[in-house]
C-alpha cells in the first residue's frame, strides 16, 4: 500500500474539517474567499473520492479496502479504523458529491441571515461527519462521526431555517440524541459480549456467539438509534419539521445523506453483528417499514406545503429501504443500499427544486403555486422528472430501490414468517400507487394549469447557472443508475453477499432453538385451494 492509499480515506474524511477551519480564519467580510475555499475543499475532497474510486478493487468489493487501523483510545480498545467496501463506497461518494453540489448551489443564494462563512463552515463540518460515518469500522469512531453531524445541522436549521426553525431544530436534535444514547448502550454491550472490542469486522466474527435473547435486547438498543435516524414510523415526526424548516441546502444534505446514516447503520452494524437479533426483529422492522410506506404516503396526501410533502415522502421511501433490510436477504439489502443512493439523488434533487421554487415565488404552499410549466418550463419539467423518479418509475434510479425491496419481501430469509412478509410485499406495492398519487397530485397543482393571479405578472427566472451545475450531476445520476443499475449493484453486491451470508440461516437456527420448524416453501395453502 503506497502512501496515498493509506491516507486517502483520512483525507476524504478530514479535508472538509480542515476547510472549515480555514474558513474560520478568513474574515467574515471577504465572502468570495470563503466561498472559494469551501468550493475548493469540497472539490478536492471529491477528487480524493474519484481517486478512491480508481483505487478501489471492484472485484473484491466485499473486502474492506484502503484500510487504516491505528490505535485511538487504548483503554477501551477502540481504534481509528477506517476502511471501505462496496456498501460504503457509493454512500461516501454520494456524500462527497452532495456536499460539493450544495456548495455550488448556495453560491449566490445564501438564505437569511446570510453569513456564508458560518454556513459553509458548518456544511463542511457536516461533510466530515457524514464521510466519517460511512468509512468508520470501529463502533466508537462510528458513534463519534454519527453524532458529529448533529451540531452543524442543528445550527443550520436553527439559524438559516424557516419561521418555525427553533422548534424544528431542537426536535431534530433531541430525537436523534435519544436514539443514539440507547445506541451507545448497545455498542457497549457488544463490546463486553463480543470479546472486548469495538472493531466492527471483529465483532462480526465474534458476534454470533452472543446468546439469542441478549442479541434481541442489544438489537433493540441499536434499533432505536438507527430507526430514529432513518426515520422509521413512529419515530419520524422530527423529519417533516426539520426538513420543512431547514434551509434548502440543509434539507438536501439531510435527505440525501443524513437519513442514510441510520439505514447504513443497520446494514453495517446491526445486521451482521447480531444476526439472530436481526432475525427476531425483522418482522417488526418489516411491519414498521410498510406502515411507514403507507403512513408516509397518506401524510403526503394531506400536505399543503411542498417541502413538507417531500419530507413525508422520505418517510415512505425509507420504508422501502427498511423493508429491504428487514428481509435479511441479499436482494433486500442490495435494494436497500440502492434505495439509499437513489433516494439521496432524487429527494436531494426534489429539495433543491423546492428551495428554488420557494426562492422564486416566496412560498411553498402548493395551493398558491400553479402553472410552473408556463413560467419556468425547465424547472417544471425537472420537477416532473424528479417526481417520476421518486415514484419509482422504471428506468430511473428510484425504481431500483423500490422494486427489488418488494421482490425480496416475497422470499425473506429462511425462518422469517413468509406469509407475513408476502403481506408486506402487497402493502408495499400499494405504497407505490400512493406514491404516484401524492407526487403527481402535487405536480398537477404546482406545475400544470396556469399561474395564479398573484404571480401572474411576476417574472420567474428559469433554471440558472449554478443551479444547472449543481443539479446536472444528480439528474444524470438518476438516469444513469436507473438504466444501468449494475453500476451500483455490482459494487454493492460483493459486500452485501458477505452480510447476507452472515445472516443466512440465523432465523432458522433461532427457530430451531425455539423448537419451531422452518417454513421455507413456495406453496401458499390458500392459493392451493383456489386453484381447485
Amino acid at each position: 500500500m503506497n502512501g496515498f492509499e493509506s491516507w486517502a480515506l483520512t483525507l476524504a474524511v478530514f479535508l472538509p474539517l480542515l476547510g472549515a477551519a480555514l474558513i474560520l480564519l478568513i474574515p467574515k467580510e471577504s465572502e468570495t474567499a470563503v466561498k472559494t475555499v469551501a468550493f475548493l475543499t469540497a472539490g478536492i475532497t471529491s477528487l480524493v473520492g474519484l481517486w478512491i474510486l480508481t483505487a478501489f478493487d471492484f472485484k473484491s468489493s466485499g473486502r474492506l479496502q484502503l484500510d487504516v487501523n491505528v490505535p485511538w483510545i487504548d483503554v477501551i480498545n477502540s481504534r481509528y479504523h477506517i476502511a471501505l467496501d462496496g456498501i460504503s463506497l457509493p454512500l461516501l461518494l454520494l456524500s462527497m458529491v452532495i456536499t460539493l453540489l450544495c456548495v455550488i448551489y448556495s453560491w449566490d443564494h445564501f438564505p437569511e441571515p446570510h453569513n456564508p462563512k458560518a454556513f459553509l463552515a458548518l456544511l463542511l463540518v457536516l461533510a466530515t461527519g457524514m464521510n466519517g460515518t460511512f468509512v468508520a469500522q470501529d463502533l466508537i469512531l462510528f458513534f463519534v462521526f454519527f453524532e458529529l453531524v448533529l451540531l452543524p445541522m442543528y445550527f443550520m436549521i436553527g439559524v438559516w431555517g424557516g419561521p418555525n426553525r427553533q422548534y424544528a431544530a431542537i426536535k431534530f436534535f433531541l430525537f436523534t440524541l435519544f436514539g443514539s444514547a440507547l445506541m451507545i448502550l448497545g455498542f457497549l454491550a457488544l463490546y463486553f459480549l463480543g470479546d472486548n472490542t469495538f472493531d466492527i469486522p471483529e465483532l462480526i466474527a465474534n458476534g454470533s456467539t452472543i446468546a439469542r435473547g441478549t442479541q434481541i435486547l442489544i438489537f433493540g438498543g441499536l434499533f432505536m438509534g438507527f430507526a430514529i435516524k432513518v426515520p422509521m414510523f413512529p419515530f419520524h415526526t422530527w423529519l417533516p419539521d426539520a426538513h420543512t424548516e431547514a434551509p434548502t441546502v440543509g434539507s438536501v444534505v439531510l435527505a440525501a445523506v443524513m437519513l442514510k446514516l441510520g439505514t447504513y447503520g443497520f446494514v453495517r452494524i446491526a445486521l451482521p453483528i447480531l444476526p439472530e437479533g436481526a432475525a427476531a426483529w425483522a418482522p417488526w422492522i418489516g411491519g414498521l417499514a410498510v406502515i411507514g410506506i403507507i403512513y408516509g404516503a397518506l401524510g403526503c396526501l394531506a400536505q399543503r406545503d411542498l417541502k413538507r410533502l417531500i419530507a413525508f415522502s422520505s418517510v415512505a421511501h425509507m420504508g422501502f429501504v427498511m423493508l429491504g433490510i428487514a428481509t435479511l436477504t441479499d436482494y433486500g439489502i442490495n435494494a436497500a443500499v440502492f434505495g439509499m443512493v437513489s433516494h439521496g439523488l432524487i429527494t436531494g434533487m426534489l429539495f433543491f427544486l423546492a428551495g428554488s421554487i420557494q426562492e422564486r415565488f416566496g412560498t411553498r404552499e402548493i395551493a398558491r403555486l400553479g402553472g410552473l410549466l408556463v413560467q419556468a418550463p425547465r424547472l417544471g419539467w425537472i420537477l416532473g422528472f424528479c417526481a417520476m423518479a421518486s415514484l419509482g418509475l422504471p428506468g430511473l434510479a428510484g425504481f431500483w430501490g423500490e422494486f427489488p425491496a418488494i421482490l425480496s419481501a416475497y422470499n425473506p430469509a429462511g425462518g422469517l414468517p413468509v406469509g407475513l412478509f408476502r403481506g408486506f410485499m402487497v402493502v408495499a406495492s400499494i405504497g407505490t400507487v400512493l406514491a404516484a398519487g401524492y407526487l403527481l397530485w402535487m405536480y398537477q397543482r404546482t406545475a400544470f394549469g396556469t399561474p395564479k393571479e398573484e404571480f401572474e405578472a411576476k417574472h420567474i427566472h428559469d433554471v440558472h447557472g449554478p443551479e444547472w451545475v449543481a443539479w446536472a450531476p444528480l439528474l444524470v445520476g438518476i438516469v444513469a443508475f436507473g438504466v444501468f443499475p449494475g453500476l451500483l449493484f455490482n459494487i454493492t453486491d460483493g459486500a452485501v453477499q458477505g452480510i447476507a451470508k452472515s445472516l443466512d440461516g440465523s432465523a432458522e437456527t433461532a427457530d430451531a432453538r425455539s423448537g419451531a420448524t422452518p417454513v421455507r416453501e413456495e406453496k401458499l395453502p390458500l392459493a392451493e385451494e383456489a386453484a381447485h
Binding site: C300, L301, L393, F403, M425, S429, V433, A436, A447, G486
Partner: protein, 690 residues
Amino acid sequence: MLENAWVIPALPVLSFFIILFFGKRLPKGGAWVGVAAVALAFGLSVVAVGQWISRPATLEVATHHGSEGEGQTVEGDDPAHGAAEGEHDAVREPVRREVTWFSNGPIDIKVGTHIDGLAVAMLFVVTTIAFAVHVFSTNYMADDVRITHYFAALSLFTAGMLVMVTASTTLLLLFGWEAMGLCSFMLIGHWWEKHENSSAALKAFFTTRTGDIGLLVGISILFFAAGQTFDIATLNEAALTGAISKGVLTVGAIALFCGVIGKSAQFPLHTWLPDAMAGPTPVSALIHAATMVVAGVYLVARVYGVFWEGFNIAAGGVNLGAVIGGVTVLIAALLAFVQTDIKRVLAYSTVSQLGYMVMALCVGAWTAGVFHLFTHAMFKGLLFLGSGSVSHAVHTFDMREMGGLRKFMPTTYKTFLVGSIALAGLPPLAGFWSKDEILTGASAGGFPIMFWMGVVGAGMTAAYMTRCVWLTFFGEYRGHGHPHESPAAITVPLIALAFLAAVAGFLNAPGVGLFGDWTNNAVTLAAGVEHHAFSPFIAVTSTLVAIAGIGLAALWYVRNAGPHGITERNAAARAGYTFLLNRYYLDHLYTDGIVGSIKGPIARAAYWINQNVIDGIVNGVGIAARKAGNFTYDILDQGMVDGAINGSAAAAGAGGGFLRTTQTGRVQQYAAVLFAATAIFAVVLIVVTI
C-alpha cells in the same frame, strides 16, 4: 436484424434524446427527427418480419396433448403442422440475445431481446401505427406550442412499447410498460393548462399504477417461482412443465392479471381510458387504441404458460380472465351507445375490443387473441386518426355538432367507413376474421358463456358504430365551422391504414393461416393450445348479428331523424331500414323494447353506474386516500404520534415546573428535607439490607 433487434427500440430512444436536448433548435421542433427514427424502425421491423417469415422451423417441441384425435386440425399447408402428426412439432426458434444487467450473488439479472413470431408481429404493428401517427401528427400538431415535447414523448413512447415487445425478461417488460405509462401521462396531459386534462392524465396514471401493484407482485412471485430468474421463456417452460406449483401459478397469474386489467382497461379499471381522450387525437390512436392499451393483452400472450396453467384454461368453463374479458366486452359496448363525443365512442369501443382480446386469450384462443390485437390496431388506429381528421376540420369532437361530413371530407369518410365496417366485423374486412376466430375458440374451447357474450358484443359493436358513423357523416351539418378535407399528411396515413384494415384479416383467413404459422411458438405448443378450424356456422351467426345490429341502429336513427327519410341519403341505411321494416311487426317491440331500452334506460343506467359507481369508486378511492391522508396527518401524526412526543416534552416541562416549587428558597425547609430524607432513606436501607 433479428439478432440486432435492440436497434429498433434504440432508434426512438435516440430520437427522444435528440428532440429533448436539441428539439427547440431544430426545424419543426424536431418533429422530423421523430418521424425519421420511427420510419427507420418501421423499415427495420419490416426487415425483421421478412427474416422471421423466411426462418426455417427448426425447434422441435414436444406437444402437450395432441389435437389430432378430435379432428380439429390447423391448416394443412402449415409447415409447423407437418410435424404435428408425431410427438413433436417444429417451430421457428426464437432469436435471443442477452447481456447481464447486474448481478446479485450468483444470480445474473439479464436483459435482452427475445424475438419470436409474437414479437415480430408486435414490432410490425407498433412501428406501423407509430409511423402513421407520427406522420399524421406532423400536420395535426404543427401549430401546437409544445410540439417538441409532443414528439419527444411520442418517441419515448414508441421506444417503450418496442422495448416491451422485444423484452426477454419480465423485468425489462416492466420497463417498457412503465415507460409507456409515463408517456401516456405526459401525452394525455399534453394540454395541461386545463385542469380536466391534467386530471385525466393523473387518473390514467393512477389507475394503471393500481393495476401495476399486481404486476409488481406477480413478477416478484414468478421470479422466485421460476428459480430466481426474470426470463420469460424459462418462466413459461417452468409453468408448463409443472416445475411451479399450481397454487403459486394461480396467485401469480391473478396478480399479473391485475396489471392487465389496469393497463388494458378491463372492467372495473376501464374508466381511465375514456378520460384519456383528453390527449391529442393521434395519441389516442397510437397509445389508447393500437399499442399501449394492448400491452396487457400482450403480457398475457407473452407469459401464456403462466396464465394457461394458472387459470386452468384447458379445462374450459369459466375463469377469471375470460369472465373479466367478457364482461368488459358487454359493459363497454353498452356505454359506447350514449357517448356524444366521437372519441369517447371509440374509446369505449377500444375497451370492448380489448375485452375480446383478453377473453380470447383466456379461452385458449391464443392465435385469435393476438390476431385480433393485430387487426384491431389497424382499424382502431384508423378510426382514431379519422376522428382526428374530422376534428381537425370541425374543431370539435362532439358528434352533435357534426353531421353530413361525408360531403366535405370524402377521404376521411371512406376510410372511416372502412374502419367501422372492419370493427363491426362484417366480412371480409379485418375485424371479421379475428372476431370470428375468437368466437370459434370460445365455442370450441368449452366456453359457451364467453361465446354468447362475444356474439352479443358483436351485435352491439355493429350498432354503436352505425350510430357513430351516422351522427358524424350523415344528416345535416349541425356545426358552425367550415369543414374541409384534411391535407395529405393526414389523409395518407388514413388511406394506408384503411388498406391494412381491409386486408389484414386475410393473413389468417381460413386456408391462409399465415399469421398463426408465423406466431406459432413453443409455449402454445407445449401448452397444447388448440387451433380450431373455421366454423361456417359461427361465421354466419356473427355476421348476421352484426348486420342485425347495424340494421337496428339504423332503424333507430331513422326514427329519430324524423320523416325526411333516411333512405334517400344512404344506401346502407336504406338496406338496413328495409330489412328491419319487413319484420316490423316483430321488431317494433324489438326496437323499442330492446334496442330502445338498451339505447335508453339500460345504457343510461349503465352509464350512470359507470360514472357514479365505478368511476365514483375510482375517484372515491382517490378522495378517500386524500381523506385518509388528512386523517393520518392531522389526527394521527400531528395529533397522536407527534402529540405523544410533544406531550412528553410538555410533561417533562411540567414535571420540572412542579419540582421547582419544592425549591422554596427557605433554608430551613431545605434542612427539613435533608433530615427527613435521611430518616426515610435510613429506614428503607435498614429494611432492605437486614
